[in-house]
């Protein structure tokens, strides 16, 4: 570790980020009228901020490492990230959410659905679910950041978790939540440049695109026995159909995260920050490019790291890091790129993690303070200071749970933790959310039934069907004497595959069987759409 070089880069970087953050914050604060009357949030900032919230250490470190393990098939997730996570999300969900969010004056995802359906229950239920499960996703980002520190500074993982937690706590306690979003654009830009440089360097060093891929294809004989057993055939080959890997890859990672993105509470609020649909149209361009450069590079480079490590050490990536998938990308950056690039890359990724974390804590805090606590008050303004206290308490509790999880979840966990959270959000909320935007015939009862059905089926799957979780919980074993009620490869089918269709069907069915409670309110929601 070159301490002098590292210190210089850190000081320079922090100086620029702090200056921009301060300036951005001051400008916005002092010119509210100007911002609203003129163009408030530039589409570049909106797309970058969405991108920097969406893509974080979880995507780059966690899923990049997973690509090193499973290969190019994971590119289906990148394709979904662009086609669904950007195009469908912005064009088909973003525009309507922006307009309806304004009609309803909603500021959080639970508040949006709660007001659309005129149901405090919906808002509270969503608030509680988000509050209870969000720490899993926050932990995934925290673990990713700690793995970067561990890999590039060569420090102990436990020390890295403590270091990064102190940094996060300082941000949260000393008011970083409001200032940090203004630096998103800078972080996003640096991440973009860093990833493009990385992609080119890797292809260049491996002799070009096709030769690099061919070299990866030729490594098929090196597949570890464990992976071969679950259906892996090569890093450039699809897994065996209906094998355990097939379901892990396509149902949990590709579908869970690729579709789950549509119902992410911390992303949905981003649509409302732009002035008109024109900004969303323009942001689609930046978003598409950004995601291609981020997850596209991370997954390609992750998979190709096998070729690099094979050349330099005669081992595949997994063997280089003792089987810990989450350590592949940090190790690769440290070994492959010059140290100044590694340090800069580390800072950029860590600050991206900070911006993701700040959005996550924002969503976590408001879920308990605004969506749960404040809705129990008769007169909202009466106990504003209590609401603030509950919000802050919620964030502190969330932080403690997150750190606990970061220590106890173990290795190779980032992608799984992320996909569980994404899948659960989609299973419970996607059907009522999509219907709220597009279907005037949706009823409150239908939405609540769909939401609860998605939740119950998810829980049932976690406890009794999906073996990765049901084995840990042990309930299936206790009641039925086996780890899963399913058999064969079906035990690897993600809960989302069962829960989402059930949620969709119940939402539609119950809505058709009941009457729209307040038709004039629905018209108000759809005003201008």
């Amino acid at each position: 570790m070159n301490l002098f070089l590292l210190t210089v880069i850190i000081i320079l970087y922090l100086a620029v980020v702090s200056y921009l953050g301060y300036r951005g914050y001051k400008n916005t604060k002092n010119s509210l009228d100007y911002n609203v009357a003129g163009r408030n949030i530039h589409p570049y900032i909106m797309a970058m901020s969405y991108g920097a919230t969406f893509i974080s250490t979880s995507a780059i470190v966690g899923f990049g490492g997973t690509a090193a393990q499973f290969g190019f098939s994971l590119l289906w997730l990148t394709a979904c990230n662009i086609w669904i996570g950007i195009f469908v999300a912005f064009v088909f969900f973003g525009k309507r959410t922006r307009r309806m969010g304004l009609n309803l004056d909603a500021h959080t995802f639970p508040e949006f659905l709660g007001k659309r359906l005129r149901s405090v229950f919906v808002q509270r239920f969503m608030g509680i679910i988000i509050f209870l499960t969000m720490p899993l996703y926050i932990a995934a980002v925290l673990i990713g950041a700690s793995r970067i520190l561990e890999g590039l500074l060569r420090i102990d993982y436990n020390v890295a978790v403590v270091l990064f937690t102190i940094l996060v706590a300082a941000y949260v306690i000393f008011g970083g939540l409001k200032g940090v979003m203004y630096t998103d654009a800078l972080q996003g830009t640096l991440m973009f440049i860093g990833m493009v440089v990385l992609l080119f360097s890797v292809y260049l060093s491996l002799g070009g695109i096709a030769p690099a891929h061919s070299a990866l294809t030729s490594l098929a004989s090196q597949i570890p026995e464990g992976l071969r057993k679950i259906g892996m055939t090569g890093w450039t080959q699809s897994p065996v159909p209906n094998s355990p890997l097939f379901w892990i890859l396509y149902s949990s990672l590709v579908l869970g995260v690729g579709v789950g993105v549509l119902a992410q509470p911390q992303l949905i609020v981003r649509y409302m920050t732009v002035k008109s649909n024109q900004e969303i149209n323009r942001a689609v361009i930046i978003g598409g490019l950004f995601i291609m450069a981020m997850t596209g590079t991370a997954f390609v480079v992750g998979a190709l790291s096998n070729v690099f490590f094979m050349h330099t050490s005669g081992k595949i990536a997994l063997a280089m890091v003792g089987g810990n998938v989450d350590a592949v990308i940090p190790r690769f950056i440290a070994d492959f790129m010059p140290s100044w690039f590694g340090y800069l890359f580390m800072l950029v990724i860590l600050s991206a993690a900070m911006s993701t974390l700040s959005s996550q804590f924002h969503a976590l805090g408001t879920s308990i303070g605004r969506d749960v606590y404040a809705t129990t008050l008769k007169e909202k303004d009466k106990a504003k200071s209590w609401e603030i206290l509950v919000t802050k308490l919620g964030i502190v509790i969330g932080l403690i749970i997150t750190v606990y999880l970061a220590y106890h979840l173990g290795e190779s966990i980032i992608a799984r933790a992320t996909s569980i959270f994404f899948g659960l959000m989609a299973s419970c909320f996607l059907a009522p959310y999509a219907a709220s935007l597009y279907w005037k015939r949706l009823t409150r009862k239908g939405a609540i039934a769909g939401m609860l059905a998605g939740f119950i089926v998810s829980l049932f799957s976690f406890f009794f069907l999906h073996i990765s979780e049901s084995r840990v919980f042990g309930l299936a074993k206790l009641f039925f004497g086996k780890d899963s009620l399913l058999s064969g490869s079906a035990v690897f089918i993600d809960p989302l595959v069962f829960a989402l269709p059930v949620s969709v069907a119940i939402t539609i069915l119950v809505s058709l069987l009941t009457k729209v409670e307040e038709p004039e309110h629905v018209e108000r929601c759809f005003k201008g759409i």
């Binding site: 408030n40 290969g71 190019f72």
Partner: protein, 65 residues
């Protein structure tokens, strides 16, 4: 194709730039569209942003003004 023997995987690889091109094409073709908002919408937006800033300040520990 491109050194990827499995067409299904090659398709995923190609769908990545294809999706990006779709995004670029869509954004470019609608670059100047849907920009008009009514006065009422502008008013609503202002109120919305005001409250959003208040929430941010509350989260950061400042009492709202």
């Amino acid at each position: 194709m491109l050194g990827i023997p499995d067409p299904w995987v090659a398709m995923a690889y190609l769908l990545v730039p294809a999706g990006t091109l779709l995004c670029i094409g869509y954004g470019a073709s609608k670059w100047n569209k849907e920009g008009h908002i009514t006065e009422e919408e502008a008013r609503e937006e202002k109120a919305w942003l005001q409250e959003e800033l208040e929430i941010d300040e509350e989260l950061s520990g400042e009492e709202p003004k």
